[in-house]
């Protein structure tokens, strides 16, 4: 299970202020901190306060600062393709693009970009009509992503399909649909495309957020979830992932399984 640490995002106050003041301190801190806590990737998102025009420069700065502080690769999270490309240009190692939707216009730009820079890419199972209602509609859009990725020569191991979760207190019926969509997505190609989720969305404005996140993550793993964008500050979430990796026979058991999961 690959964990993508969510904290370097302009939506968080300390990151937003660091971006505004050009202060590398908090970015470096969260890069190192999330690596220690078990993240495999760092999500990097400039946040909503940065203007469209400034986004590429801010993304480039965030990637440079984050990678100077730790060994992890970055997941370049932006709706601006210019910002993503700016991040890719300075990224060390293999980056991940976050994300394209199943809109033809976006896929035509971002899949070639992923291939050009040797990056992995997250594909959202949605299009201009929004988030699908059920599992089969999600799987249909996932198939669009699979076909387009394949046409551009992107291997399935580098495509991470996100079937999109909605908050449990708003769209409770989406939970089981997402789990079923994960199962279906894993059968769309052989080798299978990978799957991912922006996990924390499941608990937006809910009580017991950590418990909801952690529980849904384990349910997702049982359905075939390969990665998720998560809050690695939640120790018990990382513990649950380590345990589930053992119980699903993904990692070989040893007494120190909680510790080894966090070692890179």
């Amino acid at each position: 299970m690959e964990l993508i640490g969510e904290h370097i995002n302009g939506m968080f106050k300390d990151i937003r202020e660091a971006i505004l003041k050009k202060d590398p301190g908090p970015i470096e801190y969260w890069a190192r901190r999330q690596e220690e806590k078990g993240a495999h990737w760092l999500d990097i998102n400039t946040g909503p306060t940065v203007s469209q025009a400034e986004q590429p420069a801010v993304m480039e700065w965030l990637v440079r600062v984050a990678q100077s502080a730790c060994t992890l690769p970055c997941c370049l999270d932006s709706t601006s393709t210019e910002a993503i490309e700016a991040g890719l240009k300075v990224h060390r190692g293999r980056a991940m693009i976050n994300s394209t939707s199943a809109d033809q216009r976006k896929m035509d730009i971002l899949f070639p970009m992923a291939v050009q820079y040797g990056a992995k890419i997250i594909g959202l199972a949605m299009n201009e009509q929004g988030v699908p209602k059920d599992a089969s509609a999600r799987a249909a859009l996932a198939m669009e992503l699979v076909v387009n990725a394949d046409m551009h020569g992107l291997s399935m191991e580098d495509l991470y399909i996100d079937p999109l979760v909605l908050p449990a207190n708003v769209a409770q019926d989406h939970g089981p649909e997402v789990l079923e969509a994960i199962r279906q997505i894993k059968t769309l190609a052989d080798p299978s495309p990978r799957t991912t989720l922006g996990l924390s969305n499941i608990s937006q404005r809910c009580a017991e957020r950590h418990l909801l996140n952690r529980t849904f993550l384990v349910l997702g793993m049982a359905a075939g979830l390969d990665s998720a964008i998560v809050d690695v500050e939640d120790e018990m979430l990382v513990d649950a992932v380590a345990a589930a990796d053992v119980l699903l026979n993904k990692n070989i058991y040893c007494d120190a399984f909680l510790r080894t999961y966090r070692q890179r």
Binding site: I252, Y253, C254, D255, T260, Q263
Partner: protein, 314 residues
Amino acid sequence: MAVTIAKERWTGRVAEMIIGSGPNAVKVGGEGTLPFLHAEGEIPNRPALALEVWDTEPSDWPGVLTGCYAGLLGDPVAWAKKCVDYGADLVCLRLVSTHPDYRDATPQEAAVVAKAVAEAINIPLIVIGCGVEDKDAEVLTEVCTALAGRNILIGCATPNNYKTLTVACLENGHSIVASTPLDINLSKQLNILISEMNLPFSRIAMDPLVGPLGYGLEYAYSIMERTRLGALTGDKMLAAPLICFIGMEAWKTKEARAKDSEEWGRQAHRAVLWESVTASSLIQAGGSILVLRHPESLSQCKVHLAALMKTGEC
């Protein structure tokens, strides 16, 4: 329509271990794919073959085996030199005489023998204790000191004596054999404990305690295969080379020990086959260092390995 051959892409790699120094140093491990699938990844080093030498004359080895070392069996130095002549990549010295229930030789006595053997041969050395954990900790510490800087492989470390042995290896520049009884979970845990003392995976050889043909070979094979798959899929805690003590097991079997008979054929032929078939099977499971007893098994395995190492034919 063109058919694309599906190739597995592995994310992990087995650590590369160097034993000894100079032109005859032995390099093993480093594989980036399953055994001999050259098309899917790199197999940088041929598995290495060791011949076993005892520090005392074995009392229960059959004649077809002792005959190869006639007149040398009480003299570990001469015996070891004979192994060099036979073409072994390494000598594996087993300190049987240190066993408390046998001669209970002291650590100092054992170290003198180990040093004499090391100085007499121009190939790398493996030194194995008598298997009594406390005694091995004392004996091998002394051996490590006496052979400081020679980069030997010592063993066997177990969950009960690994701390002492790891310290001895770290202080004197040696590598360690980590031994667990056919249990991948314990084996991974022991690797973690040793590596947490700062001995890198390139200096740990995992000993899964293999069984010979007909006596648990399949079980050993599965454990080794699973270990290798773990290493290749990125489990660094399993990414150490594997050592197999083949001779010790194969020569215990009824098939190796029964005399010539009409039904079973010639013992010399049968026993060597038993040892070399066990070895060649475990080579396919990912064995990197194979410790044998009979020089003919050594020759046969060498021919087999030379064929397996040819690239571009699979």
